[in-house]
């Protein structure tokens, strides 16, 4: 089979146009609107923003599960049921290169693809991408068919098998729906970053950086510009918003 084209050429052209317009409108380093802020009441998420994450596997300690624990705390994911059935929004993956024996560890969660396969296959439109690039499940429309779990190459989605009672008011979840990492959308909308990134910074590994990929002045955009990074399964052309170093 021939290789898939990396991008729809029309989209690429559109992107260049938008970038050029933004560059003309704003002086370097000065932004008319600060994008990493809590939005005003009633304001929609902006398509000028694309939230993303950079994970440095060189700094991710093998035994550390600070991000996984923080995610479970933040989203109230704790459950007494079997580990294989328990919803899992983020997991630590340990990699070993067979030839050299080099090992690395990194968290893997929803990669918030620009071209998400979960959205393509969803029969009800419950799986969708928000304007700022966050891929979410609308549980009001999810019928629990789990097509998206099949379609996701990152195994990022889980199904809720049990009745839940200890949900947090800002993170509603329930039996019979598929769910996955929301990039802590409730925190982002308050102007904060994801809980896993905060926990990683507090653990002093500092392996995770969160920010706006579209903002050239953001830390994540600067690091992505300066340093080599990779998308997981880049061959699929999904353009994830989560990128890795040292894997």
């Amino acid at each position: 089979m021939s290789a898939r084209p990396q991008k729809n050429p029309r989209r690429a052209l559109l992107g260049v146009g938008v970038a050029a317009a933004a560059g003309l409108a704003l002086a370097p380093g000065v932004r008319l609107i600060e994008l990493a802020r809590a939005r005003a009441a009633g304001e929609s998420a902006s398509s000028q923003v694309r939230w993303g994450m950079l994970i440095d596997a060189n700094r991710c300690a093998a035994g550390c599960s600070a991000c996984v624990d923080a995610c479970a705390r933040e989203n109230s994911l704790d459950s007494p049921i079997d580990l294989r059935q328990r919803p899992q929004w983020i997991r630590k993956v340990e990699l070993k290169q067979i030839g050299t024996g080099r090992t690395a560890a990194a968290p893997v969660m929803c990669q918030h693809c620009a071209e998400p396969p979960c959205v393509d296959v969803c029969p009800t439109g419950a799986s969708f991408k928000r304007a700022d690039g966050i891929v979410l499940v609308d549980r009001h429309t999810c019928i629990g068919c789990r097509y998206c779990m099949m379609a996701c190459p990152y195994k990022a989605r889980s199904f809720v098998h049990e009745t839940l009672t200890q949900q947090k008011p800002e993170v509603p979840r329930g039996k019979g729906c598929v769910e996955g990492c929301t990039l802590c959308v409730h925190r982002i909308d308050r102007g904060q970053g994801p809980a896993c990134v905060q926990a990683c910074a507090e653990s002093e590994n500092g392996a995770m950086v969160f920010g706006d990929l579209n903002d050239p002045a953001s830390e994540i955009a600067q690091r992505l510009r300066a340093q080599a990074s990779a998308a997981l399964r880049a061959d699929l052309g999904l353009e994830p918003a989560v990128r890795y170093q040292g894997v």
């Binding site: 939005r39 599960s65 328990r86 947090k168």
Partner: protein, 143 residues
């Protein structure tokens, strides 16, 4: 023949009884009118003294549409801080004892919904309580 004649009663004979019955009926009617009318009503306790976002008549009739409309805007567009908010309903209307809007027929949501026989799906996913007394988390549960 004699027996049948004896069974017949004249109006003046039953008049005191009739009058008593009429009085009793009148008394029962007025008592019920003073209570809650003839229709049974759900017994919900509204403890919050604040004003709701709309008059009660509008809220009673339109709250499902208001919530459904806003949930789409919140989930898909990312609008936050809207006047219409399920969490705000719960904050204001949760029972002071149980801290919940469901759980008994006096609770704010369940009271009316069980009276009207309308199933509430909201709390299959949304937290119905203002004090989620969750026993939090077993740490280090990384597979």
């Amino acid at each position: 023949m004699n027996a049948r004649i004896r069974q017949h009663t004249t109006l003046p004979q039953i008049l005191p009884g009739l009058a008593l019955l009429l009085l009793a009926a009148l008394f029962a009617l007025t008592a019920r009118a003073q209570d809650a009318g003839r229709t049974p009503k759900p017994t919900i306790i509204i403890e919050s003294q604040q004003h709701c976002i709309a008059p009660p008549e509008k809220m009673r009739r339109e709250h499902p549409d208001m919530l459904r409309h806003q949930r789409v805007r919140t989930v898909h567009l990312g609008e936050r801080g809207s006047k219409v908010s399920l969490n705000a309903c719960i904050e204001c209307h949760a029972d002071r004892q149980s801290g919940s809007v469901i759980g008994s027929d006096h609770a704010f949501c369940q009271g009316c919904h069980s009276y009207a026989a309308v199933h509430i799906d909201c709390f299959d996913c949304h937290q119905p309580s203002i004090r989620p007394n969750a026993p939090r988390l077993v740490l280090g549960a990384t597979p």
